[in-house]
Symmetry: C2
Subunit: 157 residues, 2 copies
Amino acid sequence: MERQEQLIAVVRDLFNKLAWLNKFKMEDSLKGHTPSEVHAIEYIGKHADSNVTKLAESFYMTRSAISKMTKKLLEKELIESYQKDGNKKEIYFRLTEQGNAVNQIHEDLHEEFRKRDQAVFEQITKEQFDGMISLMERYSRHLDAEIKQQGIDAKSE
Amino acid sequence: MERQEQLIAVVRDLFNKLAWLNKFKMEDSLKGHTPSEVHAIEYIGKHADSNVTKLAESFYMTRSAISKMTKKLLEKELIESYQKDGNKKEIYFRLTEQGNAVNQIHEDLHEEFRKRDQAVFEQITKEQFDGMISLMERYSRHLDAEIKQQGIDAKSE
DNA sequence: GCCATTTTGTTTCCTAGTCAACAAAAATTG
DNA sequence: CAATTTTTGTTGACTAGGAAACAAAATGGC
């Protein structure tokens, strides 16, 4: 197999596995919320003035899907919406107290995962780490250029 | 942000982007087949005696989902099923001629993607490459151990 | 200012995938 | 061997998300 394909295949498999394993813990601690919902809560917690469009672009999902999801989060009172003076179109989100609580649980879980996998990451040298990050970023920019060239509009975050 | 989280975030974003971009080309050339179906065709093409269970384990999907998918592939006559003497339970799949054709288109597309992104990968030295692969494999084994310890049954391929 | 275009968000219809319950065959236990 | 347990595959009910059509607001060109 080409090294390129090999690397992508290995990474993909690893990510599937990681997501699959973490899902169990997540479902345990965050019952009643889908991974996507939790992900959205995390995003809204981190970014001021989040709205449907920004979430959609960041998650590579349709606005349709996000609109439905945020509706649920509003009903569950995990987020609340607000608008700005002089703009009746855009609707922004922020976390409620309950949303913050969920976000906290999620962060704690992440910390747990981090500790669980720490040993693996400790073996990486700074050079290796920086090399990998810069490769990813280079690849990402390359794809951005491709996307732009294809005339597809993406605006990845 | 922790380097560990940073790396995971960057990879996740990159993969979303890559999948999203490739989807357009895929949809163009392989209209009528979902990415999952194409993925299954690829798998069946590569592995002799594929069955529902093996596909499910490899894709981290439920047997239920795979069962429905293979049913569709059978109806479209892209795959065919067979059994072995003395085993009335397990049902295996192989590609039909049509399935092979689809697989070929898919491979050609992959080749196209490979060329498109070649420049990015060319800059990686052998040491870097090997280091990354071995890191992924180490991480994968670490997760396997975790999965085993959790008593979840996985048998990742 | 006014009209066309773009942006933002929602809704309806549809599909892919999960979960749970199941049947049939195989494997295990005694 | 018989009885229990596990494995394999399928089905039906349900949900998350995509596609398309849409309304309302904002923006841009003139």
